[in-house]
Symmetry: T
Subunit: 69 residues, 12 copies
């Protein structure tokens, strides 16, 4: 049986509401084209400001998924 | 036309409720004295504990704003 | 009077709902066996994905507490 | 309207002439297969030396681009 | 002659036996779909433990390969 | 059902033979006093040299284990 | 004689032409309001891409200057 | 009651005698123009050498202070 | 003969007088409950400021000690 | 055939004109006393400012060279 | 009695077989010209790939040795 | 006039008394064989513990010196 191998891609999710929603948006998007998503880690949290208010959060994620054998 | 130049300042927002609110509090405060706020990035997330419970979040941000020409 | 000394331990809280709740879960758990909890800092935010959706957040914290004299 | 999601890829540009040209070469190459390129950041600057002289610069970039909705 | 450009992808190899074998497994897998693999660097070494014993090593690699002109 | 919480401890394994054996020695030792060991990550690899030869490897690990509910 | 004390501020210079020009633009701007500028260090090099081409470099600098006694 | 917000500035203290004195010199200078100084952290310790001897220590500090409501 | 295994704990020493004394205070405290203390490394140096003056240093240490066979 | 071994030294090149020239100056100087120079990597880019203008760039490089068998 | 002083040099060992052998090769080579080698630490692990297979490991080490009084 | 080039070496000073003395001991030793010493920076502060007490400080420095033209 071959040993499992994973690939890691970097994705940036955004949300005007919360950092958690930005993370969920990124994962939802990634799941549309990638199978076997397994874990994520937050690389960076940043965002844009407009008119003196937070406009949207930008959360940079690494997302790992298992490659098919 | 001169090229845009930005300044970055470090601000710590606090909130008893959530990390996102701590970020919004820091930006709201910064916007009272600084114009042209453009972006932020989270440098560190920490907090105080009292009586075995989270007392408040402290989120350290870098906030960038455009300098007037 | 002896000078205060603190110890720092590393704890990972989890939550299916939010990063903030994962932090609160870790602190609540730590407070059951450790006294004088004083502060925390987030070391890493990650999580598991199942069926293309975020299954739970995992937030790694350092938690500091004062040692008895 | 769905929230924007970005992907980040790592590219290494090279040039015998300058670090800036190495950056431009990497972006030009990436733009041939990727749409909506939005930003880059320099991760590392290195290079090869031959016969006691700089042979070429190698600049490692992260390049971000918006994913189609 | 256009200047060479490389792409870097992140792969996680696993092995129950050794870190070196985990590295070789990741490279073998990557070589099935990518041509011109040129170098790798170890980003992180971790692993799973089961029943008090090391179950398998997980070695996170960056793997660089030359893009076709 | 309470959410799982993990603790992370730092252990240094040693071996005159190999880095992998140093990792296994650290995990074997930790498993004698800690239950539910779940994962490890290598923090640092170093070693001692004697008489111009490698005397032993020292591998610093973080080891995570689940706390009892 | 009091000992010298310095302050360090973070500035982002931009240029459509080169990283070096972005650095010079940032210093020129800083010198309009700050005296005794003494040194700088590059914290980060990034930039914007438009229409598949580099639009401008953004170089984040720390700039140190001596405070008046 | 508005939540507290802090600002962090970077200061370099110097001393021919000791790192601790360099820290105290930086704080003393900062306290002349900033109120509500609350904490500091050492970012970097360096120094100048002249005639083969340590000429002075340079300690880079981040200093945090509470902003007025 | 089993190979030596070490554990590393994180301790914060404080002192109103000097960073070196904060280090010694942390080690003295750790030695009251831990045997075979072997080495330490400074992780972070920070402190509190009160009334515009340094109130006390806080030095975060990792302290390593040998586990009994 | 013995396996190749390399040594890495740290060099700082300077130039009043450009970062790239500072890199070339460092390599040219290193090549006068070291043979088999093979690669370099930029560790840090900084510089001096005089009279409100950039006086010279200082680029810190690691330079690797093959040791004779 | 003068206090001991150590020097640290950076060496890259290579091996087609294993990371551990690359470390041993680097130390063996260093011991031919340097006395009183005392410790090493692994700075980076990388390698070359040829024809889709690992060609050789490259392990970057810092090696410390005591300077003669 | 050729542009100045500097070399940086890594030295570890030790002292049973203080971190500052360990720094001075390292510089004094380096100055016996190297000319034109110009600056240092502290890379790491650590030490040995014996019988539950600090035995000596070990301060790792980078020391820069100007190469002769």
């Amino acid at each position: 049986m071959p040993h499992r191998v994973y690939k890691v891609v970097e994705i940036v999710g955004t949300s005007p509401n919360s950092t958690d929603e930005a993370i969920r948006n990124a994962i939802e998007k990634a799941s549309k084209t990638l199978s076997h998503l397994d874990w994520f880690e937050v690389v960076e949290t940043r965002g844009q400001i407009a008119d003196g208010k937070l406009a949207h959060f930008q959360v940079v994620l690494k997302v790992g998924f298992r490659l098919e054998d």
